[in-house]
């Protein structure tokens, strides 16, 4: 789904720091959205914590870097980190190439899926949010 020129698929939740979440039942898959990967430029490093790490909603649990930018990855919900995309260790550019597919970053076992309600979901919410982000970050 194209929103203001950015690819933002409909079936995902979005977190305000530009991470998407896909609900796969017992597992949530997380990655970086199209807006952020374009703004960051080529991703050169993704911190991949050990599986089993406890996550708290809103708390930073990893770092991600492009040539010019250091970003923090915040847990969208509380739970446990159950898997990381090991391909990103030697090919972090997958995030730029295919941020919703091969560039997925983390898999989480949520402790309370109700926390997903705190994230953005509808086209209207995402559109309003993206408009603000474009104004804030996209220089002419």
């Amino acid at each position: 789904m194209d929103i203001r020129g950015y690819n933002m698929p409909e079936d995902l939740y979005y977190e305000e720091n530009h991470f998407w979440i896909r609900d796969e039942g017992d597992t949530l898959v997380m990655g970086m959205d199209d807006f952020a990967q374009l703004l960051a430029g080529e991703i050169v490093y993704v911190q991949l914590p050990d599986e089993g790490k406890e996550l708290k909603a809103g708390k930073k649990f990893a770092k991600i870097e492009s040539g010019k930018w250091l970003g923090k990855v915040y847990a969208p919900v509380s739970g446990e980190l159950i898997a990381v995309n090991e391909e990103l260790e030697t090919n972090p550019g997958l995030i730029n190439d295919d941020c919703y597919g091969k560039g997925w970053m983390f898999k989480i076992k949520p402790s309370d899926k109700g926390e997903l309600d705190n994230l953005m979901r509808t086209v209207e919410e995402i559109d309003t949010w993206l408009a603000e982000e474009i104004e804030k970050y996209v220089t002419e």
């Binding site: 080529e42 050169v44 490093y45 991949l48 870097e65 492009s66 040539g67 010019k68 930018w69 250091l70 090991e86 260790e89 030697t90 550019g93």
Partner: protein, 368 residues
């Protein structure tokens, strides 16, 4: 015939001294990773000769990569039997390139960023490190850009260590020393130099301790910072400062040490870190390439900003040596090296990486 460029005026003889032996290829981190001759000192000297002979011009896109993808680690100079000072030649050629408007966009960008911002990342808010700045004190601790914005945990550790040792120090509202710009072909930035000097003088401190060996080289060697020496202020790197302290902790772990190029080859500081490490880690082992032969981590000379994938690739090559000596811990004392190594380390590599000061702080915390 008059030389067209300053690099020829200053270094023609040295460029012609290059006997094309290729010893430099054995030690060049960029060549080791890419196997591209033009990215190695020998190739650079061949190309610079072509420019001097008028066969090619400095204003060419391919030469941007040749002359800018270099960490200025000086391993080539160390190994050169013909006495060619490759880093100085490259820095002069870069000045000529900037003069004719030819430069890597990342470095052009870094210069532009530093005109407006006080750090190389254009970040607005430094960590406050839970400590006041600009106080009166005997020492100033100057963190540096990488320590402030990319390795804040390591910086917190060294500050915690200084507190434990009851050192009277203050942080300042520091800005980038801007020494890196001269290596890229740009002038240092007067207003930032002035800010740093004024802030240091206002503290009344007689010693500036830096967390970054590049900053300490800049403060000690660049004439723009001569006022510090004139006013009787010493500048030293944290490892020089801590050399004679006893920390009262030890570890049995197998520890190795990476000599940062800016501390080692550029400043000749090899013994002090080892003396400190031997006090805390008797089970110390050298990597195959150590001291003046240490292989560069790949971050220096701006390469981490302009060629980050290759920069991390170079770090990965160096980390293989840590595995070769089966070390549990890799120590260094440079935030740029620390950052690049941390990014490069693979998950299957179970050794840990710290600055020496960070590791000592950790051992002391574990004892508490």
């Amino acid at each position: 015939m008059e030389a067209k460029y300053d690099f020829e005026t200053k270094y023609r003889k040295q460029i012609l001294q290059c006997s094309r032996c290729g010893f430099c290829q054995a030690v060049c981190p960029v060549y080791g990773l890419t196997l591209r001759p033009s990215l190695n000192a020998r190739g650079k000297m061949l190309l610079l000769k072509e420019i001097m002979d008028g066969q090619i011009d400095l204003d060419s896109e391919e030469l941007v990569e040749t002359l800018y993808q270099c960490t200025t680690c000086a391993n080539c100079e160390e190994s050169c039997p013909s006495g060619v000072n490759v880093p100085d030649i490259i820095k002069e050629a870069r000045k000529d390139m900037v003069h004719i408007g030819s430069c890597h966009p990342a470095f052009k960008g870094m210069n532009e960023v530093l005109q407006e911002s006080g750090n190389i990342y254009a970040e607005d808010e430094p960590e406050d490190f839970e400590r006041k700045r600009n106080q009166k004190a005997e020492h100033v601790y100057f963190i540096g850009c990488v320590g402030s914005y990319r390795e804040d945990e390591a910086t917190m550790s060294v500050l915690a260590l200084l507190d434990r040792l009851k050192i009277d120090y203050t942080l300042i509202d520091e800005v980038c020393c801007t020494g890196v710009l001269e290596d890229l072909g740009y002038p240092m930035i007067d207003k930032h130099v002035r800010t740093n000097i004024d802030l240091i003088l206002a503290t009344g401190a007689k010693t500036v301790i830096t967390g970054c060996p590049y900053c300490s080289r800049t403060f000690n060697n660049k004439p723009q910072y001569a006022e510090l020496k004139e006013k009787g202020i010493r500048v030293m790197h944290i490892i020089q400062f801590l050399k004679d302290f006893d920390f009262g902790v030890q570890t049995e772990k197998r520890v190795t040490y990476h000599d940062p190029c800016d501390l080692g080859r550029h400043c000749g500081i090899y013994d002090e870190p080892r003396e400190i490490i031997r006090k805390i880690a008797p089970n110390f082992v050298e990597m195959p390439y150590n001291r003046e032969n240490a292989l560069c981590c790949g971050a220096g000379g701006g390469v981490r900003g302009a060629y980050p994938k290759n920069s991390i690739g170079m770090a990965r090559r160096r980390l293989k040596e840590v595995e070769e000596v089966d070390a549990d811990i890799l120590l260094t004392e440079c935030n740029s090296c620390l950052h690049n190594f941390s990014n490069a380390k693979l998950r299957k590599q179970r050794f840990k990486i710290y600055n020496i000061t960070q590791f000592i702080s950790k051992l002391l915390e574990e004892e508490d």
